[in-house]
């Protein structure tokens, strides 16, 4: 930091850079105007000689470029003038300051002399002598001289402060307010030399700059100025850019986003989701679009934000993750190449290969790298699929294939993922949220998608499904005994469902399969409110739940199904401390227990769903259980569970044995039904 001016030195500072900057800006004005004119001419020329659909796109982009070039001229001229004025004012202050400093020096000398003379007079003739009075008068005169100089310096300091303020005001007025706010929100850090952001185009900036404030500000600004296609292409071509805009900022410092930032600040909860939803609704379309482009880290997983915005923001988030996985792969490949130089050659004894036992460490690391590389490559494949995979969906009730998944929650580090299957729009009459069970993780999210898609496909778009994983799920049966996973995920599911209900007016059914049932129950206990609840081979009604009174909305219609012989039945209703998952969902007060029936409901000869395989097979399309799930999701007619019938009783050496038969074993049996509200 150079020396700053002070009240005693109001002229301090060199105007060299100021005047040269003014000159450069002034000379750039005609250049910018000329460049804008050239682009306009080129656009006009091509418009006259080009017939194609893309001509309109070209013309639009040419016009956008001409406009952006044209935008430079006026502010550049304005700032150039302000700098000239400032330099002149400071030069004048400097001139006057020099004169005043010279006067001050003279006055100081005069005062010293007068003070000395006064002392001499007092010593020689006494304090009240004539000579003392004369000397005393001279001192006062010298002091007055000093005061006058200081007053003038003070006035000069006022002039300098005014010159500063005028310059700042003009420069600030010439700078787009949105840019100023954006930069403030990204930390307002120092700017690097001009041309730095041009490196954004070459992709080399990350190593040169690091994620500093200007890179983040420039990038966000550019993205906010682009049209949708431009922005998508840019982020595709520059995945490192996606990583940079995922850097959190202080949104409260940007007036456009301060309200939504305030609404989102807090520990969560349905009220907070409502506040976020209201804040988004109050934003202009332009500000919302800018928020999504510039701050995907904020929007992507924000409950209460419009789903379309979340999906768009998460595309950037996924691109950033893809970029990171690619970097990991590059790093691992480099490490492997180095290790390969140290690996024992064929025929060479391991322990004798340059370093003996140390090479075992090399070999071990080599093996680890292979695993890590496979992981990084698998992630890239998965992320690429999320971005560019062809997805069958329905738009306004008509089947359509879109590019890329509609991701509502993307947080690999937190094991969080949710996506829309189908589409949530005006034609949606129902929305289902499906929470998976033990073993659910990001790597098998495609399996969840496939399951959910069967329902959407059947409803031809009128039903939209959302697959939801709100955190780390148990991966083994041993882990699944603990309710801690469900408790951890519950608040997130509560808020997510609240956000879903703000998104759509359609009834929302929340279904949990296996361990997911415990998650759903825990979320209900944490305050989740849905239109319907469905437990599928559920581990329990939720940790600590004894009955519906433990839920936020006890009267919510609830459905449950458990196939006969599914081992999950052994843990339903068992709970000791943090082990277990609350009451048996099949026997919960008010719950409607559903039939699981046959593997193929319409084939009376097909086997019943029962035993261990039924735990997952209930989700197979066409089964009685699947049809029941579908009808819960869509508000149709469900088939009710009936207790096994006693068909025989015989005495055996071990005692009296009763033989039961499941009603559905009778091909003529028609289960009772009920309508789902």
């Amino acid at each position: 930091m150079s020396l700053q001016w002070t009240p005693g030195r109001p002229g301090r500072g060199s105007m060299g850079d100021v005047t040269s900057s003014a000159m450069a800006l002034r000379s750039f004005v005609p250049t910018a105007t000329s460049a804008a004119g050239a682009v306009t001419q080129a656009s006009a020329a091509l418009a006259a000689g080009w017939e194609a659909q893309s001509a309109a796109t070209w013309a639009t982009r040419g016009e956008a470029l001409a406009q952006s070039l044209g935008r430079f001229a006026q502010p550049a001229a304005s700032v150039a003038a302000a700098l000239d004025t400032y330099a002149a004012a400071v030069a004048d202050i400097q001139t006057r300051e020099q004169a005043l400093l010279s006067q001050a020096a003279s006055a100081r000398v005069a005062l010293q002399r007068a003070t000395g003379a006064e002392a001499t007079a007092r010593a020689a003739n006494g304090a009240m002598s004539d000579s003392w009075w004369d000397a005393r008068s001279a001192v006062r005169s010298a002091e007055a001289g000093m005061d006058a100089v200081e007053a003038q310096l003070s006035a000069l300091a006022g002039s300098r402060a005014q010159a500063d303020a005028d310059a700042v005001a003009t420069i600030t007025a010439a700078t787009p307010a949105d840019w100023t706010a954006l930069h403030a929100s990204t930390g307002g850090g120092p700017f690097v030399a001009h041309g730095g952001s041009l490196a954004l185009l070459s992709g080399s900036w990350t190593s040169a700059w690091g994620p500093d404030a200007i890179a983040a500000s420039s990038l966000r600004w550019m993205l906010s100025q682009m049209d949708d296609a431009e922005a998508a292409q840019y982020l595709e071509d520059n995945p490192a850019a996606a990583a940079l805009v995922m850097t959190p900022t202080n949104l409260a410092k940007d007036p456009r986003f301060a309200a939504v930032a305030a609404a989102a600040a807090g520990p969560g909860g349905v009220d907070q989701v409502a506040a976020v939803s209201a804040a988004f609704a109050a934003m202009s379309a332009a500000d919302r679009a800018a928020l999504v482009r510039m701050h995907p880290w904020f929007v992507g997983n924000l409950d209460g934000a419009p789903f379309a915005d979340r999906v768009e923001a998460n595309k950037t988030s996924i691109r950033a993750a893809l970029y990171q996985a690619g970097r990991d792969e590059t790093r691992l490949l480099a490490e492997r190449a180095k290790l390969e130089e140290r690996m024992p050659k064929p025929g060479q004894p391991i322990s004798g290969a340059r370093g003996g036992w140390a090479d075992y460490g090399t070999m071990r690391r080599y093996g680890e790298i292979a695993t890590e590389l496979a992981g990084a490559q698998a992630l890239q494949e998965q992320y690429q699929e999320l971005l560019t995979g062809k997805v069958d969906t329905f738009v306004d009730g008509r089947p359509r294939t879109i590019t890329g998944h509609q991701v509502l929650l993307f947080d690999p580090e937190g094991s969080r993922f949710a996506e829309i299957v189908g589409s949530i729009d005006a034609t949606s009459t129902n929305v289902g949220v499906l929470v998976g069970g033990t073993g659910t993780n990001l790597a098998n999210a495609d399996g969840m998608y496939d399951r959910a898609h069967t329902f959407v496909e059947q409803a031809r778009g009128k039903l939209a499904m959302i697959t939801y994983q709100g955190g780390e799920m148990p991966q083994t049966l041993t882990q699944a005994v603990s309710s801690s996973y469900a408790r951890d995920i519950a608040p997130g599911l509560r808020d997510f469902v609240a956000g879903t209900r703000f998104e759509t007016g359609a009834p929302v059914t929340v279904a949990g399969h296996s361990y997911g049932g415990s998650v759903v129950g825990a979320a209900e206990g944490a305050g989740m409110v849905a239109d319907r609840i469905l437990h599928i081979e559920s581990a329990g009604a939720g940790p600590g739940v004894d009955g519906p009174a433990d839920y936020a909305a006890p009267d919510t219609p609830r459905y449950s199904m458990t196939a006969p012989g599914d081992p999950i039945a052994h843990i339903q209703g068992v709970e000791i401390g943090s082990w277990g998952h609350g009451a048996d969902p099949d026997e919960l007060g008010g719950v409607v227990r559903l039939e699981t029936g046959r593997a193929d409901h319409h084939d009376t000869s097909s086997p019943l769903l029962q035993g261990l395989p039924s735990h997952s097979d209930v989700l197979n399309k066409g089964s009685t259980s699947w049809i029941n799930m579908y009808n819960v999701f869509t508000g149709g007619e469900v088939m009710l569970y009936a207790e096994p019938r006693l068909v025989d009783g015989v005495w055996t050496p071990g005692g009296y044995v009763e033989e039961y038969e499941l009603p559905m074993t009778d091909p003529t049996y028609v289960p009772p039904t009920a309508n789902v509200p």
Binding site: A35, R71, V79, T175, H194, S197, E230
Partner: protein
């Protein structure tokens, strides 16, 4: 099938008009008031310069995209013209 019609001379003219623009944009000054003795003025000008820089980057990107698009157009035209051997200006797209 839609048709694309492009005139070679027009394309060349547009290319010529665009050619210097990227260089002109890259010549955008980066104003600074370093050493002026006022942190406020330095900061305000730095923020302004940052905006210019971001806009210049965006403009450069757009010029490049337009040039690339034009180049592809000309290439397609040339290819079709060569294949037809008639100097045609109508090419399938």
């Amino acid at each position: 099938m839609s048709k694309v019609r492009i005139d070679a001379a027009t394309a060349a003219s547009a290319r010529g008009l665009l050619a210097p623009v990227a260089g002109q944009v890259a010549a955008m000054p980066s104003p600074t008031a370093s050493g002026c003795g006022s942190a406020d003025v330095e900061r305000a000008l730095a923020v302004f310069a940052g905006w210019l820089d971001a806009e210049a980057t965006l403009a450069t990107m757009r010029v490049q995209a337009l040039q690339q698009s034009l180049g592809q157009m000309e290439e397609r035209w040339q290819r079709a013209d060569d294949s037809l051997g008639t100097g045609a200006r109508q090419i399938p797209r």
